[in-house]
Amino acid sequence: MNLYDLIIDKIQQIQDKAKEQEPVTNMSASAVLAAEITLISSVLIAAIMLRRISDILMVVVVLALFFIMVTAMPIIPRLKREQNDSLKSMEFYVILTLGVLITLFYWGTTHV
């Protein structure tokens, strides 16, 4: 199965049951592809900023991210499923962010 078929398959999976019989349009397929490429390229470009900490770290992280994201493709349909309107998933990410933020600020600045 090539990448395009894989993406089409995933789009069908995330559509509602009622819509499952409907064909995937060119527009939705190209939107997913554009979003996928945007996400991957943005993350990789952002990772280049790690050069301000260490060049070696930057190279390792960029290569690792590239490998992980290429093998995990398509990411966007999964991401969309996570970014839904479910209160449970919103609460999970809100509390996770609060925990990470406080941990980083409380210990990260003076103890690392």
Binding site: V32, S42, V43, L79, D85, E91, F105
Partner: protein, 497 residues
Amino acid sequence: MNPLIPIMVILPIACALLLNLLHGKDKTIKTLAIMVGVVLPIIPLMTSFGIHYFGGYAPLIDDPTIAQGLPTSITDSALNLFHPAITYAFASAQQLFIFILGIVAFFAIFTSLSETKRVSGVYTFLMFMGTASITAILLSDDIFNLYVFFEIAALAQVGIILCSGIERNYETALKYMILGSIAAPMLLLGIALLLGLTGNVNITDIIYSLKHGLIDPYNPLLLMSCGLILFGWLYGSGLPPFHTIKSAVYSKALPHGAALLQAFSVFTFVALGIIIIRIFSYLPLTQWAIIFFSLLAMVLGITMALMQTDFKRIIGFLAVGELGYIGLGLGMGTAFGITAGLFQAVNEAIITSFLFIGFGTILYKTGISDTNKLGGLLVENPWVAGLVLIAGFAMAGVPPFNAFQSKLQLVQASISAGFPELGILMVLLSIITFMTFVKVFYTIYLRPRPKDLEIINEKIPKATIISMVAFLVICLVLGLFPHLATDNLAQLAQGLV
């Protein structure tokens, strides 16, 4: 002291209360709301810059008559400089922000009064209360006073969603309140920690205490307070992880309500962001956190917008994504970057309102926001379609509109600050924003009209068209003469560096 400074907050609150008292008298309500709406952007232009102390309690150093007879243990200490009153500070940047907020509020109220059949009710009350709260947030130099208005603004936002009558609006409002019940107390806890450590809620005094060694800047509780305030900032402005609920909030409000709600988010973002930079700019982690969450908002907001089929949700996600540009400007930490970020905030408030009100005409004519069910609407209202197209171009940063200037400045600032990667990302995501908009425009206006699409045979209200033309003029003026905004903002930016 200038009495017009508190009037900027008191007038919309008084108007909101009066509108409730006049319930049922639609003509009087309409006249009063429009009159006050017109005055809102005029007051900041007439007000001279300065500081207002509630109760008249100026710092002792500024009022020697009060200081007379006090022991030297007070007059010779930092207490002599501290602000005993709730202090509102009004300078050139606040003038511009409150002017733009007033403009958006006026056109949102003006459009709602002409589109809504029933003028009486709490909707206009909530719009005025929300505007008053955000004005107070922009003016206040007292972090606890800011929190009080932050909560009032959150309640006004929930009320605006509840008044929309859109399907499942109650559910979205409830979710927003539940998430707010996690985030807002955390913001309050952060403020309480600041108060506990510094004995002060005045932001200028807190900064004085930090700079003059009255407290340890690396006290773990102070650092935790920074994290908590930053978390409150994410909630107030709708940055990740609150981007999903924020975009849902916009999509469940009426178009004029959504226009005002996004302006609330933009100015809350700016006000709290400036406070975080003022107090905690000595921590490099703060700068990195601002950049991280801004980038996340841009990437998630814009990619998720591409995946949606509801045009209100698409603009909601795009609005969240555009917030990231402002955050990147603030996070760069240079005067040029901060000025460009603040200029982007002004532009975003205008352009997103333009888009919400523009796309609102589709909702007005068809009652549908699902792009799969729309099409061929160009022939119905070619002029309105043209205005919507221009709004989309403006958001993507096409010249000669205002966002082109601010985005160009942001890219230039990122290169001069040593973050060229941010410049590349901003250009890349602007292209995707443009692509998203073109996709929506094509599906709504250009592709063949679905057979089952019913269009209401009612003309689009003139107020809506006037609002759109006014927003277009502002976009053009700020695009051709950006110094009208940046001159006002540069002074604040210089003070933050």
